[in-house]
Symmetry: C2
Subunit: 313 residues, 2 copies
């Protein structure tokens, strides 16, 4: 059972679920909830060169923790449902559990409950994360950006996409940079602390870019109502990527980073605050009243035939 892999933090629960039909915990005033699923063959493959069950468990938690991060929320409780094949080795199941428990513990979440099902098909792993914010106003949302605000992104972009290319080509990473790309794909680090720091710095508009930076920019600018211009030269590409690889960072990005928008003075605070936490926050462009996402390189516009993220797929 998953509970064997959990530390004493679980004692914060009033009733842990394995003992009863459901878990019980002391609630918070403002609750944030999200659910995400990883499907074998679509979100991961067992025959990837660097595949590791523990990392898969950590990634399951990371995709959900990243959603909480994008709201500026603090993780509290997780409920995990795993559909596994009967022929899976119990040592592999143990490694998967231990990765889940490790990531929960690291980010201050309990594993409140779980469900284990047999499947004859692809492994299907679902986690629900419950977090909290201190008030209904002190959180990050997609809506609310205004023309003239700056747009910035945490950490670096393009590494996860570059890692995925190596994995899909069944190539083991050789250089240090390649190993880091693969790590960003297989074992991404959710920006939980950065999300809360953005809120504390006064930022209120953000989203996570695990579906692609371009796509998330479209959501933040409310399609048809606002727009943005992004300076390709300012994109914080992952170490080892060439400037010509910018599309990896803008479109195919599966990086677990946050993109945010704020007035320049607030953004300035946010950059300082995140830098103190050793997380880069890089201004990459500005929100504009003209609808659409525009790209600029060396001060010149890059023409797009069909604006929209589909352009890059």
């Amino acid at each position: 059972m998953l509970s064997r892999y959990l530390d004493g933090r679980e004692r914060g629960l009033l009733v842990p679920a394995p003992e009863d039909d459901a878990a019980v915990w002391n609630g918070d005033r403002f609750v944030v909830g999200t659910v995400d699923t990883l499907v074998e063959g679509i979100d991961f493959r067992l025959d990837w060169p660097a595949f590791d069950w523990r990392k898969l468990g950590r990634r399951l938690m990371a995709i959900n923790l990243s959603d909480l991060a994008a709201m500026g929320a603090e993780p509290r409780h997780a409920l995990v449902s795993l559909c596994l094949r009967r022929e899976m080795k119990s040592s592999d199941v143990g490694r998967l559990y231990s990765g889940i428990a490790q990531q929960a513990t690291r980010f201050g979440s309990t594993i409140a409950g779980g469900d284990l099902s047999a499947t004859s098909g692809p492994l299907t792993l679902t986690a629900t994360l419950i977090g909290r914010v201190s008030s209904a106003g002190r959180l990050l949302r997609r809506a609310g950006a205004k023309a003239g605000w700056q747009v910035a992104v945490t950490g670096s972009v393009g590494g996860a996409a570059a890692g995925l290319r190596l994995l899909e080509a069944r190539r083991s990473p050789r250089r240090g940079a390649e190993r880091e790309w693969v790590r960003r794909q297989l074992d991404p680090e959710p920006r939980v602390e950065a999300g809360q720091a953005l809120v504390n710095a006064g930022v209120r508009v953000a989203g996570d870019i695990s579906d692609g930076l371009y796509r998330e920019l479209e959501k933040l600018t409310v399609p048809g109502k606002l727009g943005a211009t992004i300076d390709i030269d300012r994109l914080p590409l992952a170490p080892g990527l060439a400037a010509a690889d910018w599309k990896l960072g803008l479109a195919e990005s599966e990086d677990f980073e946050l993109v945010c928008a704020a007035p320049p003075a607030i953004m300035n605070n946010a950059v300082k605050s995140l830098n103190r936490r050793r997380t880069p926050l890089t201004v990459i462009g500005a929100v504009e009243s003209r609808p659409g996402i525009r790209l600029r390189r060396g001060g010149l516009p890059i023409p797009l035939e069909n604006p929209g993220y589909q352009h890059f797929r």
Copy 2:
């Protein structure tokens, strides 16, 4: 999107998830959380004679609502993750969504958030249900039964198992009783109101019997420490079942009923309270200090070669 199928109750949410990375809601003091998954081919089959997408959606919610019922909790919020095949007809997806939304609305829950994934394998449907109880002591738990207490079960037993037999034999139900058995398998009604009524009547020990009444009795009596004797004659078998079908009710039961234990005076209150709500609550036996589950029929013990629910599988 699932949100299209939801009614105004959703407005109770501060932030519904489709708009943002996660949902936000006003929290409760004592929270109850559970997760459960339905896997195609194991928990349901598309080629069952009476298969219906709307009922499948309702059943997904019902398995989780039944876990909340077994804690005496009130449903509040649901997060739903669906793994569907791309070739699924959109009208079928719509029916599945509408069944989920229907059941959520009926039992007072929002659909706070969701995730949709593609799968090449069996459909895999997961719901997380968040509920509340009024205090950490006013809830139903498995632990705590004492020798001398009565054991009782809500509603009737055996119908869902009888329905499953018909479905697995690809037999369409003919008689009214058969239709009701199949309904109990495909479209079970979680005992949400009954669970709360049990708590209000003073009951504190209960569990749901969707894994089988015998198995749940073992959990309630704490294996090795307590036991129980069950009068087979008193089992409230579903209408249409013969007395000889008692094993369907005791062992293979997938009925969404609750079994509880309480001192006779409290049980008496509980029976009256549930009867006022038109839910039968039937005393079927007693908790004893001697470990093990014993069966009695016509006042005589029924010998079991290998005690334990495996006996029946």
